[in-house]
């Protein structure tokens, strides 16, 4: 026997080379198990923790306990603690054991110690993709729901109040959706640098939006009235709906190696893209008003920075300077000149923007305008949103803007 030089032999406390009694193991070859653990072929049988605690522990997806390190299945790299793994082998079965996660036969695990940072990053990206898929699913549900509601509305078109009540909920949901997609956008830009994402940001944003869009029936009806009058004016002047989704956005996304993100971002912009522009522009005009009236383009590009603003602090990701450089490459080819302005006004703008529109929508808008830059042509005429939800949101933005306009004289001309 004797230890061969160079052989990897982990220093594992003797007591962790045998099961801790999580299960009543039958047919376990304790000698073999001990050897496998000492040879680092299997994770040590540390006692599982009930809670994650402050330290970096991994949860075993079978027993839901936390461990310093887990074994990985060869087929799908899913983690499993040694004691749960021992349970997977059905001793009396002649059939090869299936992987409990992906059902591949001949289930086998390997042990590579604690997860590296890269592995954790990849895993989180995977999780994000699952979340995105769920969001897309939910969006589809909402669209279906919306269509059903629209049908109901057609039926009872003589009574517009009924329509307003029925569609109030989907409109609210649409906003929630927007905030979630905003999170995805953050991932898309971070992915190229394989930096883990902090998930804690999202719930906070959600809850704040919830408060803001908790409207009562009367408000909705007033908004609808405002909207209808605007819509009528708008139709007379420019009946064409401008779709603000330029190709550049998609190209940019592919460049940062997240082609799979494109559908999510794309789909999120189409239902409310034009609306987001309108809201953002209106809010912005009121907020900036006289001080920065000349830099319409600059302020639009600043919106693009917003996805990061709330996040960067928690992620310790790029320092402000570098992130500004990074974003233009991916989304804003022409915006580099405005950096100082952005830095100075960032927080203020963020307040305005995040509360009204999902910022990736706005980001798309900004590109749209820069394409036609030179003659700042903000919205290409009045926007006629297609769905009732959008109309209501726009109406809300307009009434808000009007209220503010009364307080301060407007700066740059809107049309």
């Amino acid at each position: 026997m004797g230890n061969k030089l160079g052989r990897r032999r982990q220093l594992v406390d003797e007591k962790y080379t045998k099961p801790q009694g999580l299960y009543q193991h039958k047919d376990v070859d304790h000698k073999k198990l001990r050897k496998l653990i000492l040879d680092s072929k299997l994770a040590p049988c540390y006692p599982g923790d009930d809670e994650c605690g402050a330290s970096e522990l991994e949860e075993c997806p079978i027993c839901f306990l936390y461990y310093p390190s887990l074994n990985r299945s060869r087929c799908c790299l899913k983690g499993i603690c040694t004691e749960c793994f021992l349970q997977m082998k059905t001793p009396n079965s002649t059939r090869p054991t299936q992987c409990p996660f992906c059902k591949t036969s001949n289930y086998a695990v390997e042990y590579r110690g604690s997860k590296t940072k890269e592995e954790k990053g990849l895993e989180q990206i995977e999780e994000q993709r699952v979340i995105e898929a769920k969001i897309r699913m939910r969006q589809q549900e909402l669209i279906d729901e919306e269509q059903r509601n629209l049908k109901c509305r057609d039926v009872s078109s003589s009574n517009s109040t009924v329509g307003a009540i029925e569609t109030a909920a989907p409109s609210y949901n649409l906003v929630m959706e927007g905030s979630a997609v905003e999170g995805d956008e953050i991932v898309a830009s971070q992915e190229s640098c394989t930096v883990p994402v902090t998930r804690s940001v999202r719930p906070r944003q959600n809850s704040s939006r919830e408060d803001e869009f908790d409207l009562d029936l009367e408000d909705i009806m007033v908004m609808e009235a405002i909207w209808l009058s605007i819509q009528e004016n708008g139709r007379r002047r420019n009946p064409v709906y401008v779709e603000p989704a330029p190709e550049e956005q998609y190209v940019a996304e592919e460049q940062c190696s997240s082609a799979s993100m494109a559908p999510a971002a794309g789909s999120s912009s189409s239902p409310s893209g034009g609306l987001a522009c309108a809201i953002a522009a209106l809010a912005e005009r009121q907020q900036m008003g006289d001080e920065t009236s000349s830099s319409y383009q600059a302020s639009m590009s600043a919106y693009n920075m917003m996805p990061g603003c709330s996040d960067r602090d928690t992620v310790h990701f790029p320092a402000m300077g570098s992130s500004v450089e990074m974003s233009p490459d991916m989304q804003l080819p022409n915006a580099t000149g405005d950096r100082e302005w952005i830095d100075d006004n960032r927080s203020e703008i963020a307040d305005v923007g995040t509360s009204y529109a999902s910022s990736d929508d706005v980001a798309q808008t900004s590109i749209h305008h820069e394409d036609e830059s030179g003659n700042f042509q903000p919205m290409g005429g009045p926007i006629v949103p297609e769905s009732f939800e959008e109309q209501m949101m726009l109406a809300m933005a307009v009434s808000l803007a009007e209220a503010r306009a009364r307080a301060s004289p407007p700066g740059a001309a809107w049309n």
């Binding site: 999580l22 299960y23 009930d50 997806p61 079978i62 027993c63 839901f64 306990l65 899913k78 749960c84 349970q87 997977m88 299936q98 409990p100 996660f101 059902k103 549900e141 279906d144 729901e145 059903r148």
Partner: protein, 161 residues
Amino acid sequence: MTSPSPSARKGLSKIACNRLQKELVEWQVNPPAGFKHKVTDNLQRWVIEVNGAPGTLYANETYQLQVDFPEHYPMEAPQVIFLPPAPLHPHIYSNGHICLDILYDSWSPAMTVSSICISILSMLSSSTVKQRPADNDRYVKNCRNGRSPKETRWWFHDDKV
């Protein structure tokens, strides 16, 4: 239907208890869409309300699932049945037994109550016709002594619904 199933007679093991508590907490934070856990103090038997998905044959209908956990959950599958009245579905017998592979042969300890629920709702949603399985009467008669669906030798032949 209220008698304890054979698999649930023994209490939960420590690990089963721990896992179920965590699953319940996770459920409360993030319940699967369309399901509602009916609060009881019995961790070993969950009763879950299912709402038929909008736009499907079961829209606006509500059913109840009863989930009984064996001592060695999750190494062993839970027993999942519909409480009467069970939905009319080609894979759901009138006694509430469900012909769904993940509840029996294809169970994996990596699955959770939540994932089971999603599978069942998906099964309901993909149905194109509201009818009982062809062998319903024969099967239900055979189960009259209170046999658990886990003792049935199921044939899973239809992967469409």
